[in-house]
């Protein structure tokens, strides 16, 4: 079977609204990390011109799972997902996301979850559809990261762990699940398979003390409330003690 992806680019003009330009000026941001969802990322010429006129330097990159420069996915939500060297990351004053909705820009928040407050970079969003500025901040996900911390603690002390794998080829991480099992020989790991994660089935496995997610990395955060026993992402499970010490 052949496969064709179509970006479905935005039909209107992609530009920064006055509110965004004023906000960048008010905050004296001189260097921004520029990212957009695929509907907007191939049409940023006007945005770049506006930023140049405002003397704002742009830093961007091809994030790890994306196919084009400047694009960001919701799963680019872990610390090194932007593929930028530390010196470039340090140079960025704030991130500017072009697009609608909170799903994509929240990836820029989650990937900073273990940074010291002084190193945390603000995420500014410019929605070209409604021609407005909106902000996403760490406080809006603090409840989630607090619960995530308690899930990490549970993972470290739990004996019976449920690892959720999906059969979707783009997400399946079964071999990595087996490697995690080897890292913690004192725990009992039970490997579960699903296509979409069936949240309503979780309570049918009461012997599981905490879950490990290997599917979309955002499940570990955005769906935290759906896991009464708690859930952590597999990458954090490998270094649970370290993450527990650093996560905000």
């Amino acid at each position: 079977m052949k496969l064709l992806f179509l970006d479905a680019p935005y039909n209107g003009e992609v530009k920064l609204c006055k509110e965004t330009l004023n906000y960048l000026a008010k905050k004296s941001y001189k260097t921004i990390g520029l990212y957009a969802s695929i509907q907007f990322s191939n049409n940023l010429d006007k945005v770049k011109k506006q930023l140049k006129k405002a003397s704002v330097k742009i830093i961007t990159s091809k994030a790890k799972r994306t196919h084009s420069k400047g694009q960001i996915l919701g799963c680019d939500s872990y610390h090194n997902s932007l593929n930028l060297p530390d010196n470039k990351l340090a140079e960025i004053d704030c991130y500017l996301y072009i697009g609608d909705g909170r799903f994509h820009p929240l990836a820029l928040i989650y990937r900073q979850k273990s940074l010291a407050k002084k190193n945390f970079k603000e995420v500014i969003c410019n929605d070209p559809i409604d021609n407005q500025l909106f902000l996403v901040d760490f406080d809006s996900v603090r409840g989630i990261t607090t619960k995530y911390k308690s899930s990490l603690m549970k993972f470290l002390t739990a004996e019976n762990i449920g690892i959720i794998n999906t059969v979707k080829p783009g997400q399946e991480q079964l071999s990595t699940s087996y490697i995690l099992e080897e890292k913690y020989p004192d725990k009992n790991f039970y490997h579960f398979l699903d296509d979409n994660v069936s949240f309503d089935q979780l309570e049918n496995f009461p012997f599981i003390e905490v879950w490990v997610n290997t599917a979309c990395p955002r499940i570990g955060f955005d769906d935290q409330e759906k896991f009464a026993k708690g859930i952590i992402n597999i990458n954090d499970a490998f270094k649970a003690e370290k993450i527990l010490q650093t996560i905000n």
Partner: protein, 89 residues
Amino acid sequence: MSLYKLELESAIEKIKEEDAKIVCIQLPDGMKPQAKEVADAIKTETNAKVLIWLGTNFGACDIPLGLNRLKVDLLISWGHNFFHKEKGW
């Protein structure tokens, strides 16, 4: 005018290029109401049968399974581009 371009010309060109007999179309939630427009255009412009994926379209990582068994020749997925999977994240 719809918010996002359907790129129907590209879809139809690919169907003809591949001489696809059965095509599955997968749309993100926000574009699902436009499935009729897409299916009708494909049926008018080509001889392909169109199957509309009812389920999720979370991203390029979320490709429907089992389509080969149904002899689907071409899957067209809107709203995403090629996904570079990271082994073990």
